[in-house]
């Protein structure tokens, strides 16, 4: 059976049902047993004159990165879709409305910029939708029908996901949408009978019914609920808002509450207040909001109060590019804020890790009594992947609070200087362990104390505690392990998928390349990273930032300079760019 690796884009204006169509493709292909990675991009100006684009990469093997070229483009608005023309491959399939309501000028037409080799499928989306369902609103579904017919996707996959999507709106809405889909399907089956393709072979063992299509943000929201989250405090900010919206919908039925606060400062303040009182709480934000939180994050460090903060990075600095992706908050997450304020920073690399790392963040925060920052980014938050429904064990959601023993009652020291640096923690309601948590430097008992001896001792204690956390943090994972590597590529966050795909392809080209995935950003496992760097003739760190923020953090672990590959395009790094750099390094060396 041929391997499927197919990328389809849907492009339209806000309001065209673009995102919905892309979502249905993801769901239908997941149901068909394929691996799916989807990513939407939309404008900051909602409902203005915004362009929406969805990109779905569909594969018979696991898909880890976004498709660089579209094999098919479904245009719901030709003027907007012109921007996608450069991403079409030579023989892409182009689906467009062949009977728009008015004549279109050449400079607004999609076909006038499409490469000559594309295969054109003109389908009167609106006309068909109107005659099938009485309204042109279903033209996005008509387009999907045409796409399914031409590419040979089992139409029942689409019909089932259409039913699921619209069932909450009643039978009539389901019916209208099914009719619109079928109209496009039947039209294309007839009109293009001589050029129907079979791009998606059916296979029994690919039943995808156990898989769910989840975005990074949904996975984070689900994990928070599964972790027993009781309070979410947040302030709207792209791209973190969907987490708040997800929780606002589902947290109440699990006995929790979402409070939309007046700003990000109050959000983290309330999270710290909740954890101080012994209850799991969380906030999610993006760079600008994270910057506002830094003072209270360091308060959590100093007063040793847990907190869970999702920093969904976007392109910056300042307001930056709110709807574009970047990995440029690493330094802010690790170092941001006054003083020596070491905290835990972890970064998932895919949707599944978004789930499990969020679960883990609560335990880490509780045990190490410090803010834990989960670094995601726009691409990871908004991309969808189909995965088996995440399941948690009791162990994964167990409370990791360490309480003082009864025997210490009366002589309880909240900031007891233990070998691990972890001091048993009490909270209000526990009799006999009253204390005052403070952002002032304090003694083991919690009394403010500015003496040089005390500040030295307690600073060291807090850092020792953070180092102890390495015991519970995910170790770096080496892919394609080898004793010697010509190029060792280190990746983190959403970029790692591109690293993995690039390394895999370079290996197929005969290069001795390996990949190291780092998910524990701070503290990090320096010995493992050091060993990987030492055995690689070149160390390459691709990142979606200009400064090379991970490279800056770990470059000192090896004597040779680290090769950097930095992209600030607002879009994920294409695997080919990494692959080219890898192969370029080796070719230069060969000369």
């Amino acid at each position: 059976m041929p391997e499927v690796d197919f990328t389809v884009e849907v492009c339209g204006m806000a309001g065209d049902g673009t995102i919905a169509a892309g979502g249905l493709i993801n769901e239908a292909m997941s149901l068909g047993g394929f691996s799916v990675l989807g990513f939407d991009s939309y404008p900051a100006e909602i409902r203005g004159f915004g362009r929406c684009v969805t990109n779905s990469r569909i594969g018979s093997n696991e898909i880890v990165a976004l498709g660089e070229h579209a094999h098919a483009l479904i245009s719901l608005n030709d003027e907007q879709s012109r921007s996608r023309a450069p991403f079409l491959s030579e023989h892409s399939l182009v689906f467009f409305d062949s009977n728009p309501p008015t004549y279109v000028q050449e400079e607004k037409s999609l076909l006038s910029v499409a490469p000559p080799g594309v295969i054109i499928f003109g389908i009167p989306f609106s006309d068909l939708a109107v005659s099938a369902a009485g309204s042109s609103r279903g033209r996005n579904l008509t387009a999907l029908g045409g796409f399914a017919a031409v590419t040979g996707i089992e139409p029942d996959f689409f019909r089932e996901v259409i039913k699921n999507k619209f069932k909450s709106k009643g039978d009539r809405v389901v019916d209208i949408n099914l009719k619109s889909f079928d109209a496009g399907y039947e039209y294309a089956m007839g009109k293009f009978a001589d050029r129907l393709l079979q791009l998606f072979p059916k296979s029994e063992d690919r039943a995808g019914h156990d898989k769910v299509v989840l975005s990074g943000n949904q996975a984070i929201g689900m994990a928070a609920i599964d972790a027993g989250l009781k309070l979410y405090f947040g302030y709207p900010i792209t791209p973190a808002t969907p987490i708040m919206e997800y929780l606002a919908k589902y947290l109440p039925e699990h006995g929790g509450r979402v409070v939309q606060m007046e700003d990000e400062i109050s959000s983290i303040g309330a999270v710290i207040g909740s954890f101080y009182a012994g209850v799991r709480a969380m906030t999610a934000t993006s760079g600008p909001g994270f910057a506002l939180m830094t003072e209270l994050i360091t308060h959590g460090v100093m007063a040793e109060i847990p907190a869970v903060i999702i920093d969904a990075q976007r392109a910056g600095p300042s307001t930056g590019l709110p709807t574009k992706t970047e990995q440029s908050d690493l330094q802010a997450a690790v170092f941001g804020g006054p003083g020596d304020s070491a905290r835990i920073v972890i970064a998932p690399t895919n949707v599944e890790e978004c789930y499990y790392f969020t679960l883990k963040s609560f335990q880490l925060a509780e045990k190490y009594q410090t803010p834990v920052i989960v670094l995601t980014d726009f691409f990871l938050d908004n991309r969808v992947e189909n995965r088996p429904l995440p399941k948690t064990t009791g162990e994964q959601v167990a409370c990791w609070n360490i309480f003082p023993g009864e025997s210490s009652k009366g002589r309880y020291q909240r900031y007891d200087d233990t070998p691990s640096g972890i001091s048993p923690r009490s909270f209000p309601g526990m009799e006999g362990f009253n204390f005052t948590a403070t952002g002032l430097e304090h003694t083991e008992k919690g009394t403010p104390d500015y003496s040089p001896e005390n500040h030295s001792k307690m600073t060291e204690k807090r850092h020792r505690k953070i180092r102890s956390a390495l015991n519970d943090l995910e170790k770096p994972v080496e892919f394609f392990p080898n004793d010697q590597l010509d190029v060792g590529v280190i990746g983190w966050g959403s970029t790692f998928g591109s690293v993995l795909e690039a390394v895999e392809k370079s290996r197929k080209n005969g290069f001795k390349v390996g990949a190291l995935k780092i998910t524990s950003i701070f503290p990090y496992h320096s010995e493992i990273i050091k060993a990987f760097m030492a055995k690689s003739k070149f160390v390459l760190i691709p990142e979606l930032n200009y400064e090379g923020q991970l490279a800056n953090l770990i470059a000192h672990l090896d004597l040779k300079p680290v090769e950097r590959l930095n992209f600030v395009t607002g879009a994920p790094i294409p695997p080919s760019a990494i692959q080219n750099r890898v192969e370029e390094l080796l070719e230069v060396r060969a000369q």
């Binding site: 279109v104 050449e106 000559p116």
Partner: protein
Amino acid sequence: MSVQRFVVIGNGPAANRAADSLREKAPESKITILSKDPFRSYRPHLLPDFIAGALKEEDLYFRPHAYYKERDIILRLGQSVVNIDFSKRNAILEHKELVPFDGLIVATGGKPRIPEQFRLFEELMLTLKTPTDAKLWIEKLASTEAVLIVGGDLTSLSLTKALLKLGKHVRFILNEDAFWPRPLNDEVYRAVTERLEQRGVEVIHCRRIKRMTRLQENLLEMETDSQTIEAGVLGAFFGLVPDVRFLVKTGLDIDHGVLVNEFLKTRFTDVYAAGDCAQVYHPGLRDYWVSIGYENAAALGRIAALNLLGSRLEVRVEPESILEVGGVKVNTSWWTEF
């Protein structure tokens, strides 16, 4: 002055030569080729070899997309022009797009000619003009051994060779329209029959075809005035006629092709026609003529382009190029009769 926009309709030899000439002489202009066919320029005379399996499909095409990109010629394939608005100077595409032009060259070429008496049976007959037609031949031939060819133009003769190579049983009805545009005189008729029969083709003599029916998916029946013939595939070969039906409502003068003067200009300023679709006035003949053949079409394409850019080149009827069929000479350069 703003950039001049030239539109060429068609993607055959006339169209391509016209586009190349425009680019050569007007380097700053915007040039767009609009072609209803979804495939690249191809060599029609290679189609029989392709059917015979002697060539890959890729070998039919001769200009990569990069050729156009390098010359900044916008190639738009599979997009039909359905009308032309000469007042606003827009070519109107089937998908309701308006492509504005300052100068236009119509070079849509020809399409298979089906004589009046066969129009009723048109859908039962295969023609051979494009790679798409060739693929249909390949598909049909896969499940049949018997081929019946009616007509008998040059293409039919090379196809027959290909069919024989494939081991098919070929029968040939040399119809009175055969060898159009030349009338089929007895001399030619006898010579061709002899040559065909030498190669193992059964030549059927008949005056009139009365009826054609499809008996099964792969079985057709034809009744002539003298006999009933069964065949798996029926090919019709009566030459080409200008492919200009879509221009009828535009206001252009259309007879069989687009009527142009000896400078290839139509009745509209800066609108020219060239190649197999043009019906060219000949002041000497005091009649219109239509060219035949690849080189002729290309030459006309070049003249149209240069005249559009301000030259005043008169078209001359090329000397008859001669095809020998069984020792008989046939003119293949141009024709005036329909």
